[in-house]
Symmetry: C2
Amino acid sequence: MKVNQKYIADLLKISRVTVTKALQDHPDIAISTVKKVKALADELGYIPNIVGRSLSTKKTNTIGVVVPKINHSFFSTIIEEMYTKAQALGYQIILMVSFENEESELANVKSLLSMNVDGIIIDSVSTSAKDKSYELILKHQKPLIYIDRKPRSIKKVESIVFDDYNLSYKLTNLLIDRGYKDIMYITGSQEVNICYDRLIGFKTAMSDARLDVPTDWILNADLDKENSYKVFQKYLENNSKLPEAIVCVNDFVALGVYEACEKNQIKIPDDISIVGFGHLNISNLVQPPLSTVKLDLQKASFVAVEKLIAMINDQPYEKNNIIGGEIIFRESVK
Amino acid sequence: MKVNQKYIADLLKISRVTVTKALQDHPDIAISTVKKVKALADELGYIPNIVGRSLSTKKTNTIGVVVPKINHSFFSTIIEEMYTKAQALGYQIILMVSFENEESELANVKSLLSMNVDGIIIDSVSTSAKDKSYELILKHQKPLIYIDRKPRSIKKVESIVFDDYNLSYKLTNLLIDRGYKDIMYITGSQEVNICYDRLIGFKTAMSDARLDVPTDWILNADLDKENSYKVFQKYLENNSKLPEAIVCVNDFVALGVYEACEKNQIKIPDDISIVGFGHLNISNLVQPPLSTVKLDLQKASFVAVEKLIAMINDQPYEKNNIIGGEIIFRESVK
DNA sequence: CTGTTAGCGCATTCAC
DNA sequence: GTGAATGCGCTAACAG
């Protein structure tokens, strides 16, 4: 038999409403009644049905989170941090995975809206100018925050992004300081904000130092190891000149370069220096340890959840946060 | 204004029920009406409210998943695979994290029950004989499957576990074949099935080969790198005799041993050989690459989701699956 | 083919 | 202090 409020009420021969109120410690109800109700509820293992409650209160106390992948150290870290913070603040996270696919992201957003989450956090895969997910959420007037990646075309939306431009600029500058001149860059789609900002940071640093970057030394690798391997491998097949250093848009891309170097017997850092971005947990386990930029993932995740909940509850919040990081040089650079 | 079925019905001046049926392609309704309704729904960006539907149908089309952690390659892999399979079968996953804490697991289960998920999959943290999560789910008659780790005390429950005993036996045997005799084992709590089974596999292989294992050569390390480091470090401080090889209950534990070896300038595999279990993605990135056992995580995850959904829908399913694996020797063993 | 009625579990409002 | 009435959005059973 299902244990719900009616069940308890019938057993106690009181009204269902009294049960509701008693369970909420409503001042209306006599303490003795409250005690009786709670005791029985405990005994029966009563668990409130949130579905019913949500329908009535128009709140679900859940927040939807859409990420491109789970099984990557970067994402699994921010996911876990968001879970931690949400749990502490009394919210449940409904996690969806877009698998780096725009249509899937849209479907996820639809699911979240139909599940009536109170707000949404997206690490976007969008590369197109018009973003349907965004339009839809806007239409439904749900609080929304982009974390990490957001479609570049959307301006008027809350976001929590990393200080990509400045970190990339600084990183490049540190390389230049060490005497590097012929530096290659491997990036992803320019529609994704992180790729754009990091590349601009790189380019600006180079031009500020009056160093030239040939157009064909900016390769496009779609943000993952496999593509990066292919792209750099192809470069090696078609060109004889090796850059002195390669700046990669993230650590996965750097690992792809590692692989290509190993296949072609190019020694890191003797023949070439490599730097990544993002500080994957494996970045200091590979040989040689990878120089990279450590982003404050916990802070970004915490801020995202805190801010979204503030938005949900019409509380004040800081606008458009930029999260810093720290440059870490290891043996992949001479 | 909120777009719901009533809103559409009013606009079209028909009954709400007609709208419901039209949206479901119910044969009752005239095609012309169906078209009109769907067109308007599309135009308005109507998204059904699943909360309402669930309350009415008593089904949520969601399955609850509880895992100890997210930010570990093993867990993030099975999570992602479960998402993949669930999505393909039209179910949503509600993911909860117990953070290796039994009380938290129980709270998660309560949340899932109150969200009225159709079934639950748990990678358990329970170490105690009486498992409250289990009792609760049983009481609520929800389909339940344990994956990977389950409380050893519970017998009559569906589970999907890895072939720990046999793989551990085989692994140990392969070491013995290579001439190793003084072998240490580092394990976790014996209440967790994987620890128990793997240790028994090890012990049996050793005794079958008439090799002795001193009791103080079976260390307890709680399944993670930090504890493993501490435990083995402590051993090194208090003992002079080094084992020829160490079998670790999982790769994290093996990495803790790596760390202790490095701190104490013990060379792997020259001074000591190490094997892990689980095939973390980093296992072949560390130096030297770690010998380990690769478990078929995708299969386990797929089977878990498929089976749970079969249970939910009262369809037949195979009982208590055991998922195999493959032993991979790398440079961490001579 | 369409609509009426009823109910899912809970919470709020208001009257007793 | 207690409870009756109402509605949240949707669906199922039945009637017209």
